[in-house]
């Protein structure tokens, strides 16, 4: 894009315009994604709790986030008297900037990346690891003990979960041999059995473990100890109101999408559909193919985000000691074992066994997914007399 713009204007202006366009597209994407995910979260939680969720604003309540946004912007932006005002004010923006900067290196398709970074995985992990700073600062600067507890918990939890998360990232890196996210996606072209998650049992386990640790890293339930409302009022954002409060949630949904994108690129074939026998960019031209690629990538990421929501509304919150114990006593040794295991697998295994494993894992997962999907259509029981229909309703 810079080269194309450089024909019309000086090079420095072309670089600035290209950077501005990329940043603008990413900001709008993050905003829109958060808009829809917040609606989705409320719908998912509603359905899981046998309610309808938002229905009033717009079709299916789709504009609920807009109504929420208007409400939040018009709310008074207060800061408590005992707070460190400067830190209190910048904390939400620190959190958001960190999770937004990760999008710079995430490719949405072959060549669809704001700035190709040769060590993309490492860059994204590094940038996402700075998000915790905003949350901690919010907890500290609020001048409230509930916020302080939330911030301390967040720091302990996120710093601990970074270790198994990074070790899980190394497992596919051992197979792919690159840290470049675009190259990672390109290597998983072809059938879905070529996806790294199905490459061997260790990568399959690493995918699950990465997803769990990434959920914890985004402070999502069941790991949302930083805002445990049953214990800490609202944790680190107790004292926040209005726009700044919503920026925290923008950051949370952005980082959920970012870690899902990382998981999709490393384990789930990136922007490849997994069944098309050709490359979309070669068949439909660059823009058509890239649109398909980006749609597939965003679709896969959204699927993972929906799974995170599903987990949030299904599982009870862990205690803080359970959270730390799960990380340090179980996830850390397991991820070390996976790293050793994938090394042995890559070095000493007969290629034929590797091929069969791919097919077994790939098609097994597909069949399992289809089975779960089919189970949605089995007839449900009938509601008892004089009861509302609810979960017993026939579909």
């Amino acid at each position: 894009m810079t080269d194309w713009l450089a024909e019309y204007m000086p090079h420095w202006a072309a670089v600035l315009v290209a950077a501005g366009v990329a940043a603008g597209v990413l900001v709008s994407f993050v905003g829109l994604a958060a808009f829809l995910y917040i609606w989705g979260e409320r719908k998912v939680s509603g359905r899981i709790q046998d309610r309808l969720g938002p229905t009033r604003v717009g079709p299916f309540g789709l504009l609920q986030s807009l109504a929420d946004g208007i409400k939040l912007i018009t709310k008074e932006d207060t800061a408590p008297d005992g707070a460190d005002k400067f830190l209190f004010r910048i904390a939400p923006y620190l959190a958001f900037v960190a999770s937004f900067a990760a999008f710079v290196a995430i490719p949405f398709g072959a060549g669809l990346v704001a700035q190709p970074v040769s060590t993309g995985v490492f860059f994204v992990l590094a940038v996402l690891s700075t998000e915790v700073f905003g949350v901690m600062l919010a907890g500290y600067a609020s001048g409230s003990k509930w916020s302080l507890f939330g911030g301390v918990r967040e720091a302990a939890q996120v710093v601990s979960y970074e270790v198994p998360r990074s070790l899980c990232v190394l497992v596919p890196v051992c197979v792919l041999g690159t840290l470049d996210l675009t190259k990672m996606g390109q290597q998983q072209a072809g059938g879905f059995w070529n996806w790294i998650a199905f490459h061997d049992p260790f990568n399959f386990a690493a995918f699950v473990l990465f997803f769990v640790t990434a959920t914890a890293g985004c402070k999502r339930a069941p790991f949302d100890l930083a805002e445990a409302e049953s214990e800490l009022v609202a944790g680190f954002h107790t004292e926040y109101s209005g726009f700044r409060w919503s920026v925290f949630f923008l950051a949370e949904y952005a980082s959920m999408f970012a870690v899902s994108g990382l998981a999709v690129l490393m384990f789930l074939g990136g922007w490849h559909t997994g069944f098309l026998p050709f490359e979309p960019t070669e068949q439909f031209g660059f823009w058509g193919g890239s649109a398909l690629n980006a749609a597939v990538f965003v679709g896969k990421c959204s699927l993972l985000v929906v799974v995170m929501m599903w987990l949030r509304w299904s599982l009870p919150r862990l205690r803080i000691d359970q959270v730390m114990m799960t990380c340090l006593k179980y996830f850390l040794p397991i991820s070390c074992g996976l790293l050793v295991g994938v090394g042995v697998w890559q070095l000493y295994l007969h290629p034929l066994i590797g091929l069969y494993t791919k097919y077994v894992l790939g098609f097994g997962t597909l069949l399992f997914g289809l089975g779960v999907f089919a189970s949605l259509f089995t007839p449900k029981g009938v509601a008892p007399r004089r009861e509302l229909e609810g979960v017993w309703a026939k579909v």
């Binding site: 420095w12 915790v132 700073f133 901690m136 720091a155």
Partner: protein
């Protein structure tokens, strides 16, 4: 005056201004936030130079690790609401002299580098040649893997030892010598570091 120079000037100004903020602010956590901006500015300079790995490593080690632990420590240990440092005039003088000396040293070193013409515009090789030469794949099979591993295992031993020294002391001695508990209660308390 091209874009790189302008970007360098902006990043360097942000880095330097935040560094002054670190020295000038009294609140520990505010100083930490200024230091955060300094470190982000330095990693921005690395990115500007094309050293992506170094920039990301700067972020993950200092911002995601060290700074978080520092603020975490302040949050855990602080008695009042906000920790404040009072700098004595002597400390200002010593710190100022040290900083000035370091600045002169670095400035002369970098100016010498410019005048000796050692600056090159070679495209940076990235991280993979370094990794391969660690493994001895390139560079005629001369491997640096063993010294690297020795250093890393040494670091691990140091970390385990630090965790061992810093762990909460159990009341093993009291259970073992239950009779003496009444007589030298103060001594055992002092040993265990428990403040009454």
């Amino acid at each position: 005056m091209n874009l790189t120079v302008v970007l360098f000037a902006v990043l360097a100004a942000v880095t330097a201004a935040s560094a002054v903020g670190v020295a000038a602010s009294r609140s520990v956590v505010r100083a930490a936030v200024w230091l955060l901006f300094t470190l982000i500015g330095v990693s921005g300079l690395y990115f500007l130079l094309g050293a992506e790995f170094l920039g990301a490593a700067q972020l993950i080690v200092y911002v995601g690790g060290t700074m978080v632990l520092m603020v975490f420590g302040v949050m855990i240990t602080n008695q009042g609401p906000f920790a404040v440092l009072r700098t004595k005039p002597v400390e200002w003088a010593v710190g100022g002299v040290l900083a000035g000396g370091l600045f002169v040293l670095l400035a002369t070193a970098s100016l010498n580098l410019v005048s000796s013409g050692k600056t090159t515009d070679d495209p940076l090789p990235g991280i993979s040649p370094i990794g391969l030469s660690f493994l001895g794949v390139e560079d005629g099979g001369r491997s640096y893997l063993l010294p690297f591993e020795v250093v890393s295992v040494h670091l691990l031993v140091v970390l385990v030892a630090a965790a061992y020294l810093a762990r909460a002391k159990r009341r093993v001695s009291q259970v073992a010598s239950g009779k003496e508990q009444g007589t030298n209660k103060e001594d055992t308390r002092q040993e265990q570091g428990v403040t009454p």
